[in-house]
């Protein structure tokens, strides 16, 4: 743990300075997390009259329940699609913008503002565009012979939430890719051009490999985003339906806890999610440590 060479010598002051942050952390983070952990080993009856200690029963039931396994599969499909879609589009835009000299700033401004749009708002806008009766996109698809209905068809609903979630994330990935592209030394690209490599060859042999740290970082961030921050997109649009087709893990925690009032199961799911977040945070930190080295 780093600190300054010389430090102030007050005894009580540092604790007073830390007190507000630690109080909020303890009351609203650590205590609830501990509660979730404790509840995950308990089972309450539906009226809350009695609770009993059930060891790992809540966890065992989760991994045997078809709906939880389905939710895991849905989350995997959803997170992968969002990460791939938003990263590919953002990379294409960033590479195109990087070649611009005068217009780069203007294009950047026009692409980055959706970062500020709330996920729930993004969800409602796409929900509106895909609305089966009046939406413009569902109208176009009807003309093309496909009957879009995200209220009935699970695949349609999944496509809807993937598009809405990716749309919002493009701006973020674009910014990081553009920064990554700026960091690639010009001389490398120029040397390749002199050796006769065309733009496409240069992209795959120079730009893409040199961007791989940025890409790796963005994959982690986007998967975390898709797994946890898209709650609002799901809740504002499909609400996990139809028939559980978009019921991602973080939505299921909420759904089982608040709607189903199955507190033990919801707590066990919370604990599993916390473990997943911890793994991702760890991966991200390892990566950052490595990046600092060169």
């Amino acid at each position: 743990m780093q600190s300054k060479r010389t430090v102030f010598s007050n005894r009580a002051l540092p604790y007073m300075l830390l007190a507000p942050q630690l109080a909020v952390t303890a009351i609203f983070f650590l205590w609830p997390a501990a509660q979730a952990f404790r509840q995950s080993f308990l089972r309450e009856d539906a009226f809350g009259f009695s609770t009993q200690f059930v060891w790992f029963d809540n966890y065992m039931r989760l991994f045997q329940s078809a709906s939880y396994l389905n939710s895991m599969a849905v989350t995997a499909v959803f997170a992968t699609s969002v990460a791939v879609l938003s990263i590919v589009i953002a990379l294409a835009l960033a590479v195109a913008a990087n070649g611009m000299i005068r217009s780069q700033q203007t294009y950047s401004t026009l692409i980055i503002w959706p970062y500020a749009v709330a996920p729930a708002v993004a969800g409602v806008m796409w929900w509106f565009m895909f609305n089966p009766t009046i939406g413009i996109l569902s109208y176009l698809m009807r003309q093309a012979g496909y009957n879009w209905n995200h209220g009935l068809d699970g695949t349609d609903a999944m496509i809807l939430v993937v598009i809405a979630s990716s749309w919002k994330q493009i701006s973020y990935n674009f910014l990081f890719f553009l920064a990554g592209l700026h960091a690639i030394p010009r001389s490398l690209t120029e040397a390749a051009a002199i050796d006769g490599a065309g733009p496409i060859k240069r992209f795959f042999t120079i730009t893409l490999p040199l961007l791989s740290p940025t890409t790796f970082f963005l994959v982690v961030v986007n998967v975390v985003y898709a797994m946890f921050d898209t709650f609002a997109v799901i809740h504002a649009t499909t609400e996990g339906g139809p028939n559980q087709a978009t019921n991602i893990l973080v939505y299921k925690v909420f759904d089982d806890g608040f709607i189903g009032l199955n507190l033990g199961s919801s707590a066990a799911q919370s604990v599993i999610l916390m473990a997943i977040v911890t793994v991702f945070t760890f991966i991200q930190f390892r990566y950052i440590e490595r990046r600092v080295e060169y």
Binding site: F8, V117, A118, F128, I136, L175, F176, A179, V253, V277
Partner: protein, 282 residues
Amino acid sequence: MIENRPLLKLTAHLVLIAGVALVAFPVYLAIIASTHGPTDFMSGVIPLLPGPHAVENYRQVLASGVSTSGIPPISLMMTNSLIMALTIAIGKIVISLLSAFAIVYFRFPFRALAFWAIFVTLMLPVEVRIVPTFQVVANLGMLNSYAGLSIPLIASATATFLFRQFFLTVPDELMEAARVDGAGPMKFFFDILLPLSRTNIAALFVILFIYGWNQYLWPLLITTSSDYYTVVMGIKRMADVADSYPQWNTVMATVVLAMLPPVLVVICMQRLFVKGLVETEK
């Protein structure tokens, strides 16, 4: 460009224009929809050109809300959102500045423990531990209050980290000189450290304001009284009713109003926004 290839340049422009269109199209439609009367959504496909009802739609949602879905005036909801976003942003910055100062400029027992206790929160999004957090806030009697809306979201490992990293780069000599001149820790903090951190604070403020404004699940759970509804969560309540009763014009007017403040912040303070975004991820 390394070499002059007009065709490549043209393709790049086309890709970018397509990207800008993709990004802007949903918002364009939302704005268009907010300028039409309710009957325009009864049948057929939504119109693509502006209608004549813009002023009356916006006046209606801002001043009186939507009675059919029990929605209060949007101006009230936007005020609530603003209070929540400002409290979260300023609160996070203040408590993180103080704790980062304590961690970097003091040596005391349990310093590492305090650091790790704060660090853990980085890994715990509210959504993940939503039920127990709700129980804590309910037990404290903080439902339906501004304190309940903002305080539980105020602890921030990210901001603490950012300030810690920044304080570590501040030259040691500044602090030594201040001590030689007889300045105490708080005087040093207010007169030297705080002015030096100004750009960082501003950049972080932009990011945290957007974070606070866009909160969804938390306000949805802890507000049952419409006096404390925030605009982002209010849209959900309106959209729920819109399926049975076509009022897309007012829903979309609210959507436009809900994204206006944070989008303006990003566009007007683009430089700070980019700095804040890149730094918080380091």
